[in-house]
Structures are given as C-alpha cells and as structure tokens.
C-alpha cells in the first residue's frame, strides 16, 4: 500500500507519548492502543511517564523536543502547566495532539472521550429505567478534570429533573479506591436505605458501591449507573442479581489508537479536525448477559459501536485491529 510521507519510511519517524496518569486499567489499555497503532504504522514510539507530576510532565515535553521527535501526544495533564510547553513544541515544528487535556492551542487537535456524553448516556438510561423522580446517591471527588466535567452534566440533570433528590454525596480517592468507596457507601446506604439510584461516574467508584450494596443486602432496591468499563467491570455487572445495571464507556484502546492516527494525519499533512471525538457507548447489564460478553475483547467484537475504529481513519492508515 502507498503510504504518504513521512510514513513511506516509518522507521525514521519518532513520536513521543507524554503521560500524566499511568496507573490503572484505563491508562494501561490506552497505552496498549497507542502502541498497537504505532506498531501498525511502524514508527518509533517513546513513552515519557510523569506519574501524576504535572510539572514533570511539562519538562518531559521539553525533553521530547530535545530528543528530536516528530510528533507528541500529550495524554492528560493540567491546562495551566501544559499550555506553554505545548506551544514550545509547536514552535519547534513538532506536531502535537492532546488527549483529554485542553492546551488552548488552535494548532493542536483535541482527542476527547466526551465526559459529558458519558455522563449523559448513563443518566438518560437511569431516567429511562427509574422515571423522573428518585432518591439518588452520588459519588464525586472534586478537582479531577474528567470527574468535574461529568459533574457538570449531573448538575444539569438535577436541574432538568427536579424529582431527582440527591440525598448523599460522597467519594474518595484513597487507595485502593474501590475498597475505600465501599466503606463510605456502606455508611451511606445504612443511613439512607431508601436510595434507589447510585450515580458513580467512574468505574472504580461503581465497583466500590456495588460491594457495599451487596454487603448491605440492598442489591434489589438500588441500581448503579456508572462510566468506564473494564474486564473486571463486566464480570461485576454480570454477577447474578448485580445492582450495577449500566455504564457508559469509550474503549480506551480505541482512544489510544485514534490519538496516534490523528497525530499521523498531522504528520502526513492532513487535517484531523480541531477536535476528534471518540463517541461513547452505553453498555447495559442486559446487553452483556444477552450476548454473553465476558471481557473487553468480546465486548469490542459483539458491540461494534464500542470498537468504533473509523474515527481519524484515512484510507492509507493501517488498522491495528486486523
């Protein structure tokens, strides 16, 4: 197949992934997507990992510049710390894309898994299942960008449906998160046994809530709606009598692939668009049970919209999933 320059000689192309977050399944899956697409393209990928040190992440962009890479993917981070570093990279003639962090730069396409859409899909399902008036428990920790964006949607929903009564808000990022959230959720359901819906827009939160609901023996009266998915989540949702009924998710591996592809398009002189959105999918317990889906691979295979690979997919682009 004919590849546009510089991919006619991909061994010469060097790209860097500069990460803010790395620990956890989402980030591991994202990385595997990036690696898969980079391998399919045959380019040299360097991974710079700042382990949640925003200052270090900015330095790593400079380091990537010094390494002489052709393209940079910025994965998460803080607008304030990354804005200037990204600009320096652009000034150095390097192509840059950013995933899930707004670096306020028109030259840099934004790859997004729309957090607002994730929350909206899950909440629409909750309204569909439970009507417009219910008592809710909400799991939220402020200060984390994606959670803050999901929180905006939650507020919009509460404004739109006055019948939704948030009786408890809790949350923690103490590790292991699921265990700590389970402890909190146990207290909450003990104090408010009449909660009907738990909105836990992050799968670690949802896992914790599910453990608590099981332990409190309230699986029948509480339904959990969440965001994100992993193999372990699928198993938890499919447990007999599981209270976790739906989650909205994008496939992190696909997001990783899309990030590389958008960067590749830039390098090849094509225009991926200012914002590349990987649309989320609603995954319900019924879907999983109905199609007997056991892990992420089967999910991709059996829910094609989840495997959504056709974003940023020009004809010359090799598909890593084939």
């Amino acid at each position: 197949q004919d590849m546009p320059a510089p991919f006619d000689n991909p061994g010469e192309v060097k790209i860097a992934l500069v990460r803010y977050l790395s620990t956890g399944d989402f980030f591991q899956a994202y990385l595997s997507g990036v690696e898969a697409q980079a391998k399919a393209l045959g380019v040299d990928l360097r991974v710079l990992d700042s382990r949640q040190d925003a200052a270090l992440q900015a330095d790593m962009v400079d380091q990537a510049i010094a390494l002489g890479v052709d393209g940079i993917i910025i994965q998460h981070g803080l607008t304030e710390s990354m804005k200037e570093a990204a600009q320096r990279a652009v000034d150095a003639g390097i192509k840059v894309v950013a995933f899930d962090v707004n670096v306020e730069n028109p030259a840099i396409p934004q790859i997004e898994q729309s957090d607002r859409d994730l929350a909206r899909l899950a909440l629409e399902q909750a309204v569909a299942d439970n009507g417009e008036a219910w008592k809710a428990g909400y799991v939220y920790v402020a200060g984390i960008a994606p959670l803050d964006r999901r929180d905006e949607t939650w507020r919009e929903f509460k404004a739109k449906y006055p019948g939704i009564n948030e009786v408890a808000m809790f949350g923690t990022l103490d590790n292991p998160i699921a265990n700590s959230v389970a402890n909190q959720a146990r207290s909450v359901v003990t104090a408010n046994p009449d909660i009907q819906v738990m909105f836990a827009p992050y799968d670690e939160f949802a896992k914790g809530v599910k453990i608590a609901v099981d332990e409190a023996g309230l699986s029948d009266s509480i339904k959990i709606y969440s965001a994100d998915i992993s193999t372990a989540d699928i198993a938890a949702m499919r447990e007999p009598g599981s209270a976790w009924v739906a989650t909205a998710a994008t496939n992190p591996a696909v997001v990783g692939q899309v990030s590389v592809r958008a960067l590749a398009m830039l390098l090849a002189g094509e225009e991926p668009g200012a914002s590349v959105i990987v649309p989320p999918t609603l995954i319900t317990q019924a879907d999983l049970n109905g199609q007997d889906i056991k892990n992420m691979e089967e999910l991709s295979a059996k829910l094609p919209q989840f495997a959504h690979a056709d974003v940023a997919m020009p004809a010359w682009m090799p598909n890593p999933n084939e």
Partner: protein
C-alpha cells in the same frame, strides 16, 4: 485524677464519639452498623497489628501497604492466570508476606540498614514488582494477558467467600469473615505480646537491645520474627482485600500504609500505654472507623473527614501525652 484521665481519656473520647453519632446519625447504633465499622477497618487494622509487632522491637515497617497490594495481586494471579485453587492462592500470598518480612528483617538486622530506609526501599521495589507480571494491568477473570491471550482461571468461590461470607452471630448473616479474622488476629497478637515470653522479650529488645542481648536473648532472631509477623499480617490483609474486591486491583498510593500506621500510633495513647501495644492498635483502628463511619453517615464531605481525623488525632494525643508526661515529672 490526671492518671485516670490518661488511662481512660481516649476510651472516653471514643465513647463520646459513639454517643454523639448515635444521637445525630440515625442508624448508627445498630448491630449491622457496628459490624460494618469493624469490617471497614478490618484490613487496615490487620496491617496495623503487624506494624505494631515491628514497633515493639523498636523497628518500623513502611512496606506493609505494598506487601498487602502485592499479596492481593499474587492471589489474583495465582487463581486467574495460574488457575490454582483458593488454598494454593492463600498459601502463595502468605509465603510472599513471610518472605518479604524475612528479607526486610535480614537487611535490617544483618546488613544494619536503618529500618525506615530498608522498608522504604522494599516498598518501592514491591510497588514496581507487583505490576511486572501483568505489565500494569489489573487482574480479573477473563482478562487479556500482555501476550494477547485470555486468562482462563477465575476467582474460586471459596476464596471469594473470605470476602463475602458472613457468620451467624445473634443475628443471621452478621459477622463477615474479615471481622472474625481481625478479632482473632488481634487477640492472638495481644496475647502473644503480653502473655508469652517471646512477646515480653520483644518488648525488651525494643526497649534496650543491648541489655536484652547481654541477658542472653537472640535479639537478631526476635527482630527478624517481628518483620516476618508484619509481612504475614500484611499479606493476610491483602488476601482479604482481594477477596472483597474480587480482582487484583492495580492501585497507587499509600493510604493503606498511612491509615495502618495512624492506627498503630494512636494505640500509644490508649490506656496511657505510651508504647506500642496490640490492644491500643485495635482500638486505634476502631476509632478511625467510628469517626469515618459517623461522618459519612452525617453526609460530611470527604475532605472534612481527613481534617477531622487529623484534628481529633492531634488533640487526643496532645491530651494524653501532655498529661501523662506532666504526671510523671
């Protein structure tokens, strides 16, 4: 007078807290709630009991948190990837805990590396090590391995029962396994430290290593044993964690470590002991549990919980130590 305040001040504070929450948080005062408080502190409590053993011999173990998470990963790995049964998984974890403790002990005792340093290094090492087999993935049934294949094993029901089964106790289905384990271990280590000669000698070693050695105690062995105990307890905590979560969860952060250390250190203040002791540690863990449970039930935001936890800790300790030292002068 001051003496009574020192001995019972902390317990009175705990009682006061319980009374306060009972009044202001409906549902706080029920057997389920009580059991739940125990359950919420079971894992940190077990870790704290282990670290108490090292505190007793004058050491410190910063690696307990990572031993627990390593053991959790190991249990999941054994069952899901290696397709072993529950017993093998449990034994595997215990062996890891004991081994880590032994290595810690040997490094500290024979290589004379300061305890904080040795166990800090071990902590970093384990945090990295536990991620290598799966290249940073969490371990769950049906997971995809780094080589693309799918793991065939599952968490055995017997293992999951460790996290989910409840014993009947007055009420049916009341006591979770983890609480029973916590209570049994607390009793065991308390009895061991207070009423066996090994426990007494461990206190002697911690207080004056040289004197203990000159009196014929195998000081090195005692110290190593303390780290082995700490390692084993941490791995038990990890097993219970794996059983509760039903997967091997890649986690970062040191909350297990810090909460366990807090519990063990609060224990200093209980009954005016002013030294590490198993009873105090158990009460310390319980105290944190009561506080967090009560605050959550009163819908306090999570950040106020940390604040209140810190403030109560500081005040309680100032009270106990300032008083106990004054009276001793």
């Amino acid at each position: 007078m001051a003496d009574t305040a020192i001995r019972f001040g902390f317990l009175a504070l705990l009682a006061g807290l319980i009374a306060f929450f009972s009044v202001s948080a409906p549902g706080f005062l029920s057997p389920q709630s009580a059991v739940f408080i125990f359950q919420s502190v079971a894992i940190t409590g077990i870790l704290a009991l282990g670290v108490t053993a090292t505190l007793v011999v004058g050491g410190f173990d910063l690696s307990i948190g990572s031993v627990a998470t390593s053991s959790m990963m190991a249990a999941a790995y054994a069952m899901v990837v290696l397709e072993q049964n529950a017993l093998v998984a449990v034994l595997f974890c215990l062996a890891i805990g004991a081994l880590v403790g032994l290595v810690n002990g040997i490094i500290i005792v024979y290589m004379r590396v300061p305890d904080l340093l040795a166990t800090l290094g071990m902590m970093f090492l384990l945090v990295g090590l536990q991620r290598i087999p799966t290249e940073g993935r969490s371990i769950a049934a049906g997971m995809t391995m780094p080589d693309g294949s799918t793991a065939a094993g599952t968490f055995s029901p017997a293992f999951l029962a460790l996290g989910r089964h409840r014993f009947d106790f007055f009420l049916p289905n009341l006591l979770p396994v983890s609480v029973v384990v916590l209570l049994v271990l607390a009793l065991l280590i308390w009895f061991f430290l207070e009423y066996t000669r090994f426990g007494r000698m461990m206190y002697a070693v911690g207080s004056n290593e040289r004197a203990a050695e000159l009196a014929g105690a195998p000081v090195k062995a005692y110290k190593i044993w303390a780290y082995v105990i700490s390692g084993i307890f941490a791995s038990i905590g990890g097993i219970l964690l794996a059983a509760r979560l039903g997967r091997g969860d890649i986690a970062s952060g040191n909350n297990l470590l810090l909460d366990a250390v807090a519990a063990a250190l609060i224990g200093f203040a209980v009954l005016g002991a002013a030294k590490p002791n198993a009873f105090g540690t158990a009460i310390g863990a319980l105290f944190v549990g009561v506080l967090l449970q009560g605050l959550t039930m009163m819908n306090a935001p999570y950040y106020t919980q940390d604040f209140v936890k810190g403030a109560v800790l500081v005040v309680a300790l100032v009270f106990t130590f300032a008083l106990s030292n004054r009276s001793r002068r």
